[in-house]
Symmetry: C2
Subunit: 344 residues, 2 copies
């Protein structure tokens, strides 16, 4: 550990960072010229540019983003807001991919991502304050449950926002990008039926989320009205899937396939089936949804519906940048793919 001579618990103060004036002095030009050089180099002569470039290297100059933001009124950063119940955040691998691919997509535009977690009431207020204080130019938000007050606040404040998944209750005033949940569910239902299954159950997502609603709707599109014994509701967690499957097994012991509305729940469902002595897929075929990382590590590997997360992220970022530039909100729906592996 480096130890200062004067005070063993203090490190020597970092030498002050060079400013644009230092660079200007070294280069022998005005700070206006340095600034122009930094911002695209328009109206800067070759000689000046060269001198400035050299001076920047020599001084180790890096622009102070706060000073820049103060005048440009642009933060060059964007928030990624996770507004979901605690359990889901820690468990669901979907958030991982989404977060990572959003970070990458933003880096492409040289934008930083600040992560905000607003699971509970109190967080929401703090995050709301943060988002409205000019820290960021806009927000990407994942909040699947109906009636999130944070969303209303952001919209009210005029903060550019784009949601991941249909923002129930705000479909018309906030931009969003979503996979085609309904059609994805149709693909799975058709696949299961065409594989010869006749008693097909479903574990849905929560009925106040788009995935909970639309995936059930798509399932019905193909299979018609479902008898209640073949429907159980889950909460997108592993143990939720386990419980729902146990319930289904209880109500309809003769089912030969089940469509589970998320991969994580599907792994829970498989555990419940195994616990009940049913083999997957021999006795009961299991279809998931998401194609998250868990689909590959689960045993048997999951047959599932792929959500194009990388593309979703890219579209979210595109939409957000558009709104920051003044465009009105829009919705983008992306197609899904059936991925056949071992569980069905």
């Amino acid at each position: 550990m480096t130890v200062s001579d004067h005070n063993p618990t203090r490190r020597r103060a970092a030498r002050p960072r060079p400013t644009i004036d230092d660079v200007a002095a070294v280069a022998g030009v005005s700070r206006g010229t340095v600034s122009r050089f930094l911002n695209g180099g328009h109206n800067v002569s070759g000689t000046a540019a060269e001198a400035v470039g050299k001076a920047i290297r020599k001084t180790g100059y890096v622009a102070n983003q706060h000073a820049r933001s103060l005048v440009t009124q642009r933060a060059r950063s964007v928030a990624f807001v996770l507004s979901e119940p605690q359990e889901r955040l820690f468990e669901d691998p979907n958030f991982n991919v989404l977060l990572h691919s959003c970070t990458r997509a933003l880096a492409t535009h040289d934008l930083a991502l600040v992560l905000a977690i607003a699971g509970e009431e109190e967080d929401r207020r703090r995050v709301g304050r943060y988002l409205t204080s000019g820290h960021v130019d806009g927000a990407l938000i994942v909040s699947s449950h109906l009636g999130n007050p944070l969303l209303s606040e952001l919209v009210g404040r005029g903060i550019p926002v784009v949601a991941c998944g249909k923002p129930l209750g705000h479909e018309r005033d906030v931009a969003y990008v979503a996979a085609d949940d309904r059609d994805g569910a149709r693909q799975m239902a058709e696949y299961l039926r065409s594989a010869g299954h006749r008693r097909i159950g479903i574990v849905t997502g929560p009925p106040d989320t788009p995935g909970g609603i639309d995936r059930l709707a798509g399932f019905r599109d193909v299979l018609g009205e479902i008898e209640p014994a073949l429907i159980a509701h889950g909460d997108y967690t592993h143990s939720g899937g386990e419980t729902a499957m146990a319930c289904l097994l209880d109500q309809a012991p003769d089912l030969d396939a089940v469509f589970v509305a998320s991969d994580l729940m599907a792994t829970g469902a498989i555990d419940a089936l195994r616990h009940a002595g049913r083999r997957v897929p021999e006795d009961v075929a299991v279809g998931g949804f998401d194609d998250s990382s868990i689909a590959l590590t689960a045993r048997p590997r999951l047959t599932t519906i792929r959500q194009p997360f990388a593309r979703i992220s890219a579209e979210m970022v595109r939409l957000l940048l558009g709104q920051i530039e003044g465009e009105t909100p829009a919705a983008v729906i992306l197609p899904t793919d059936l991925v056949v592996r071992d569980s069905a």
Copy 2:
């Protein structure tokens, strides 16, 4: 969708945010007084405070963070830097917990977390530039591999940094907090031995990471010199664990237990064992490391060593804040716990 009268793809410009001067005008005081009110309310009379509070509510004022940072030289935000190979980022549930608990720990201090991913060379340069431009007051970094140039750059620039896990090659100049890897491995080795196992193999982490080195060392502390056939190296991924286990089975078909240096690899090892027709734990006991979320969803549920992630995060944040205030770097080592479940 809201549509402007004049240009269908543009939304009306948001009305400008109120500034501190607007508040001062409404409250009938100077902006100095408003500022003092905002910063703790020292030297502000009761009457003034009341008028200002009312004015803030009336105008909906929120301080502009950039202006504030420009003068205070404090960003009030911290970077969380993930500098790991791509595969690990998407798969390993440890990062999840760590990221979430760091976000929470920072929120406690009203600090924002900006997520930076620097997997490859190019990212590192971008992230390096970002971190040194005053955007953040410091960085929490997870980068387990030896010789990460980003770490050297940050240290060189005098940016406060604290690493998660021992920063190989920088143990003496960067602060870090780590679980006691070596002792954790000892706990597991002792447990396996006391359970009666006699041929105990190990799947290590990469030999250029602290977990790769210290967990093997702890294993040896208990079991003495290990014959080479009982050692295989993994890369902390699921498939890495699978491959390493297959290799172990090949070299030492008679082993009756294995310590796998991460839970994710342990799930891969279990798959390899199952594939080879061995039952877990009856034929081969499997011990993991981390107690990540996957330990509970894996079948059988993993017997593992718990890393105290919440505490690790809290300590990281504490150390970082200390450094921002001028303290010299320090190292914190936290104890681990054996968690016995079904796999061993």
